[in-house]
Amino acid sequence: MTIRVGSWSVRLAPRALLVGAALIVLACAVTVAALATGEYTVPVPDVVTAVFGQGTPVAEMIVGKLRAPRVVTGLLVGAAFGLSGAIFQSLTRNPLGSPDFIGFTAGASTGGIIAVVAGGSAMTIAGGALAGCVVTAVLVYALAYRGGVQGYRLVLVGIGANALLLAVNSYLLTRANINDAASAGAWLTGSLSGRGWDHARPVALALAVLLPVSAYVSRPMRMIEMGDDAARAMGIRVEAVRAVAIAAGVLLSGVATAAAGPVIFVALAAPQLARRLTRSPGVTMGASALTGAVLLTAADLAAQRLLAPTQLPVGVLTAAIGGTYLALLLRKDRH
């Protein structure tokens, strides 16, 4: 579908728009459900009035102070992971090319664990995670650079870094005393419990800047998926686009990990799920971000309610999502 106004023209895929709208509705539904349920159930109409600041004091307290920060953090972190995954899957031309496997999430974990063991506050841990992620990314990029960074080399160097960092992480865990190890271990599974607005704000800021950037580079990135030479022949500055995309992807997964811990597999599953829903060739940025948001908040809701009153860390559920996703990939799909 093409809309033309004078010399301007914009291409829209109706199905993608429809899927996007459906995902937004779904995200709203999950949000309301998460705000309404829990130890104390707030009726849905009260939730809505509370959200707009017109509710009863009790409802506003529970919805606004206790539950909203967690849900909003979940939405933002999910979107950031989804978008980051979309970027790396496009760059590596591989549905498994997720930041979880090429060292970035592991690097964020290393930074986080060091902060935990050093007894840092929540903010220090977040800062450590972001720093760990960025340092890892710079090293991986530098090591993979050889007159340009090719997707496969990025993957392989990243896998090497991933192995090294996982070992460093477990070394840190074995050296720590049992209490530190347990709390670092809990952080490592990824969790949204106790997240406040301080956690949500950096992610929101990162998304506000990086979502437009990602959308802008998504067109040349789609060309790079056809091979470096083909893209260069079309006039794309392949290395520049790739560097911008990697930077965006790394920052997104870094801030997301800083906020919620290394919640793996959202970045893996969201882009492919979105792709299948929109039936578009290649990954799509916006739909991946929305899918990530829905996946993570839904997983968090399930983690809270599935075995209530026992609260599971959301990472356990996303690991299950990851397993299911791999199983789905095993089915040779032809459309």
């Binding site: 080399r153 993957v155 392989l156 990472g315 990851g322």
Partner: protein, 357 residues
Amino acid sequence: MRPAEETAVPVAGAGGDAGAARDRRGRPAILATGLVVAVGVLALTAMASVALGARGVSFGTVIDAFLAPDGSNDHTVIRELRVPRTLLGIGVGATLGLAGALMQSLTRNPLADPGLLGINEGAALGVTLALGLFGLSDPAVYVWFAFGGAALASAAVYALASSGRSGSSPVRLTLAGVAFGMVCTAIASAILRMDSQTFDRMRFWLTGSLAGQTADTLVRLAPFMAAGLVLGLMLARPLNTLALGDDAGKALGVAVNRTRILTGVAVTLLCGAATAAAGPLWFVGLIVPHAVRAVVGPDQRWVLPYSALAAPVLLLAADVAGRLIARPGEVQVGIVWAVIGPPIFIMLARRRRVAAL
């Protein structure tokens, strides 16, 4: 991977033929001597592994501990801890080295490794299930869970890597392995998180460690390791032929599917037993066969036994290093390897050739 030596085309040109023929007659003798030397080196490393550690012991004391044990502290440490640990290291090293060589040959993938491709993680998940969930503590019992996990992992990773239309490539296979391994690890740690006692006991094992296993574990696992080693070494000839490609292999009379399945069985036995003994270890199976091929050439009849002998040497050396650098504590051998391994892996990955495969 290069074609096997026995089917390689001799160097053309006058004089070259005679030289090549002489070389080929001389080479097996040299290589066989090399194997004997390798056994000697392994024995020396084993001696060092028994003698060195948080508390250094003289070689004289080591010999006394065997010939005339007097129940002293040193002798007890040697007989009860160091010797089983060293023997375990030899078993685990040999199995992983051979498993890596078999996998690299079968998948024609220079980056194949039991740890990287998720097979050890699959086995570890099996062991975690057995120990953490069902409380089965007999190694000869939970090793079957390790086999199940390893077999599932090899099948799943292979299928994952070749599920795309473009077929399997080293990068795809490696990614699939890492992805599957991460899922296994995530599930395993979720299980452990439910039970902090098991978590504390198993977190060292999950990193890959030769410490903390008794002589009994070794005895219970040894038959499985031996079976895997024998089966794996017997596959050298068909694998040599399969290195030329499935079609060429078939044309030369290899039962391609049977060879694949038998190799899969051998890899499962080797990785399952090794992981049950020492936890999921990475990179041993990757790097040793590479180094071996650089020395002895592409003939699997030599690559496989050399890998099985060289890997325990390096594993024990890393284990001893881990004991020495952090005295009086120690660094798990899995961590030592995970620090040595990645730089070498990255070096291999940066080679242009990998992309072309």
